[in-house]
């Protein structure tokens, strides 16, 4: 008969595991990096900014934040709570108003020929503008475009944008591009 092998003492495994656990608890963090994703415009190759393609004034909604964190939208002072609706109205232009953005017909996969707004929201901030306010405005702009995308998705497929498949999402992105431009910094007022 084979001799019985003595059992290996496993009581220290727990200690080893605890050590590892404590090490990971100390050296790692839980927070997931999340943020508002934007693409910066590349620096124009020829330093001449005057030659850069310009949009027509009616296609640009100028959003400016001054150093006291006041908001000016298209020339008028406005409270941040009204900005979202203003942006949505500017982009969709439901009554074909001459002062709001133009539309251009484009062929879009899955959807056919549709009117795409040529409107761009241009965001300008001052040296003294607080970052918190800037992010708030960026957030409102992002919300406006997400809601626009959702509305279009609902109208076409009866689902929200997030529930669409990848191909459909691409189509919607072409139909409602997130058109937020961060303007060339300009010195205005402040110090």
């Amino acid at each position: 008969m084979a001799r019985k092998t003595p059992e290996v003492n496993a009581s220290s495994t727990a200690d080893i595991a605890f050590l590892l656990l404590v090490f990971f608890l100390v050296t790692t963090t839980m927070d997931v990096d999340s943020g508002i994703y934007r693409k910066l415009p590349p620096i124009p190759e020829n330093q001449d900014i005057k030659n850069a393609p310009k949009s027509k004034p009616r296609n640009v909604l100028l959003v400016r934040i001054n150093y006291t964190n006041l908001l000016q939208v298209g020339g008028n002072q406005m409270d941040i709570s009204r900005l979202k609706d203003k942006v949505k109205e500017f982009i969709t232009n439901p009554n074909d108003d001459k002062n709001l953005s133009e539309k251009k017909f484009k062929d879009i996969p899955l959807l056919g020929r549709k009117a795409v707004s040529k409107g761009v929201v241009s965001l300008q901030s001052d040296v003294g503008t607080s970052y918190e306010m800037y992010i708030k405005v960026q957030d409102v702009l992002a919300t406006a475009f997400v809601e626009l995308k959702d509305e279009v998705s609902m109208a076409n497929w009866g689902k929200t944008f997030a529930d669409l498949n990848e191909e459909q999402q691409e189509a919607i992105k072409k139909l409602v591009p997130t058109a937020v431009s961060e303007a060339e910094p300009k010195k205005m007022g402040g110090k």
């Binding site: 050296t27 839980m30 970052y131 992010i135 957030d139």
Partner: protein, 155 residues
Amino acid sequence: MAKFKKDGGKETPAISTASLPDIVFMLLFFFMVSTTMREVELKVSNKLPQAVQVTKLEKKSLVSTIYVGKPKAQFQKNFGTEPVIQMNDQISSVSAVGSFIASEREARKEEDRNKMTVSLKADAATKMGIVTDIKQELRKASALKISYSVRKEVK
């Protein structure tokens, strides 16, 4: 019923701890999966602003982080109280952003270099002046993908 009679005098058996390592290992794996390594020691105060529309940054390895904020109390003697920039482990100036991006790009694999994203972690109390300067430097370094790091607002 003699069968069920307790035979007295016997010691109570010790509780088996054989499953304890398994439980601890389970905890360990949970933490290994759900957390990320702490990379740098923060030298600036960093209270991120809040926002609703956030996207998660995927592919941690492609993200370089720039911190902006007031220096913490123990560094204020050297760097003052105005918001400064921290990259990697040290406080530096706006002009160093270009070389930081260049070195970060060097550290990535060649095919990943144009997928690099810069995560800008700026304190809510920062003024836009310094942020705009950083953005201009990033454009010059053609690091155009940027993410303004925020805390997700719970409604």
